[in-house]
Symmetry: C2
Subunit: 298 residues, 2 copies
Amino acid sequence: MVCSLRRDISLCRTLSPHLSFSLSFSLSLSLSTSTTMQSSDSGNLGRALCIITGASRGFGRTAAREISQLVKPGSALVLVARSGDDLRALQTELAESEAGRAGMVVQCVVADLGLMEGLESVIKSAKEVFSEDIDHVCLVNNAASLGDVSRYTRSFTNMAEVDSYLSLNVSSSLCLTASVLQAFPQRPGLRRTVVNISSLCALQPFSSWVLYCTGKAARDMMFKVLAEEEPDVRVLSYAPDMHLVARSKTADPNVRKSLSDGFSQGQVLTCEASCAKLMKLLLEDKYTSGAHIDVYDI
Amino acid sequence: MVCSLRRDISLCRTLSPHLSFSLSFSLSLSLSTSTTMQSSDSGNLGRALCIITGASRGFGRTAAREISQLVKPGSALVLVARSGDDLRALQTELAESEAGRAGMVVQCVVADLGLMEGLESVIKSAKEVFSEDIDHVCLVNNAASLGDVSRYTRSFTNMAEVDSYLSLNVSSSLCLTASVLQAFPQRPGLRRTVVNISSLCALQPFSSWVLYCTGKAARDMMFKVLAEEEPDVRVLSYAPDMHLVARSKTADPNVRKSLSDGFSQGQVLTCEASCAKLMKLLLEDKYTSGAHIDVYDI
């Protein structure tokens, strides 16, 4: 909590005139989630089918590695990305790991999630590796793009560009999530978890990041609605550290400086540290379904 | 403020388990906006070019009527909708009004804002009716669709359906806003205002309303980013009463009952009352740019 407030103050001083709003919002969110926690740490994710999108690099790749160490024998990973080479390298690495040698199935799906065919191939692969003794289906909606951050909102006059961004970043995660929930419906003994890899940008506007902020805010709300509708599904919007998207040509000089200063001064978490906190949340399984939880809130 | 809290409590009791979050969020927003207010009531909107989308009926139609009574002679209204008949009836009515007889120009644009051609025809018309002595350009992004509320999130597996919804409700308002800002750039003596007709659904999830909530949350964030980027542009996300979208086949029985109970018990505001409060905000011009303000906060 202290970390989160400190971080928001520092970001807001540089980036935003809406200081009072951001602080009170962060505070109320944290209080809300902490007061609803219960204790049920199991130490593993069960005999799981885990589908991870954007798995070829960065946070998705790290999540695949960490999840593979937390599932029980008989589990299966479905790794999705557009880049086949990176994905197959990860598949080989995981197959040679302790979990892989113990029989964990690792399936690669090289697909463009902006296309229906891409979604359908993920579902097809997930059904192929599913077995009746799997007790946990976990979808990590990680695939996302940053959008063009070198331009301001006033330059986005081309609908095809915005449509394409929203399709890849919002529609595809909605339709993939819906498809997974339909493919693996509620039944006794089956846990279902849906993770939305979110961002501070879902809550706070950043100059010159209009597509990214808009897409992340849309996704957060979409998963909040899902949590309302499906009480048996555990839904989490998790925001890793901002450095994960910091290597960019941000148009706004204040935002660019704030990101690069944080990076050069070592104030940002590694991908592994950000991911470890997500694993902690998933293992403890105490978060309020639908909540947005920032890496600095943990 | 009291109204807003009462309303949220009542809605949350019926609809949402996230009571503490909703209350603290509403409270912090209201405090944030009220503390930044300054006094500058001018009594009119100036010699204005006002572009209103979704103007053929409901809130947009009422907004066109009310705005026409608040602009100075020499103003122009550009009314946009897909329905030409309703739009032309409104044009005739406004032309025969006091403002119309005093020379206010009323231009109709029958267009589908889901298409680039539609956006372009709005900009073309706006440029045609613009004159150098206009001192205020005001865009009211009202056009929106509810989406299919008869189904739950898990049923949205068709990307084309979600893409189409986001294109009409998010992309088009971003691209139209950007196009208007480019067509009428910052210059001394020219006020520029952008209104986003928002909803409580931008802040709070409602079961079976996934497209509407997602689109409204996306729009709110988009306009927050715009406010960060363009300090000279006044940006307002205004949420009228929920009854404006209440006549629907909502799948969730609790949400449906809550909406119809409020409507039948006369607890909802009329379109005119909701719109009058927006006019008050625009005339006073004291809101924090980028803020989301609910009709019950005023």
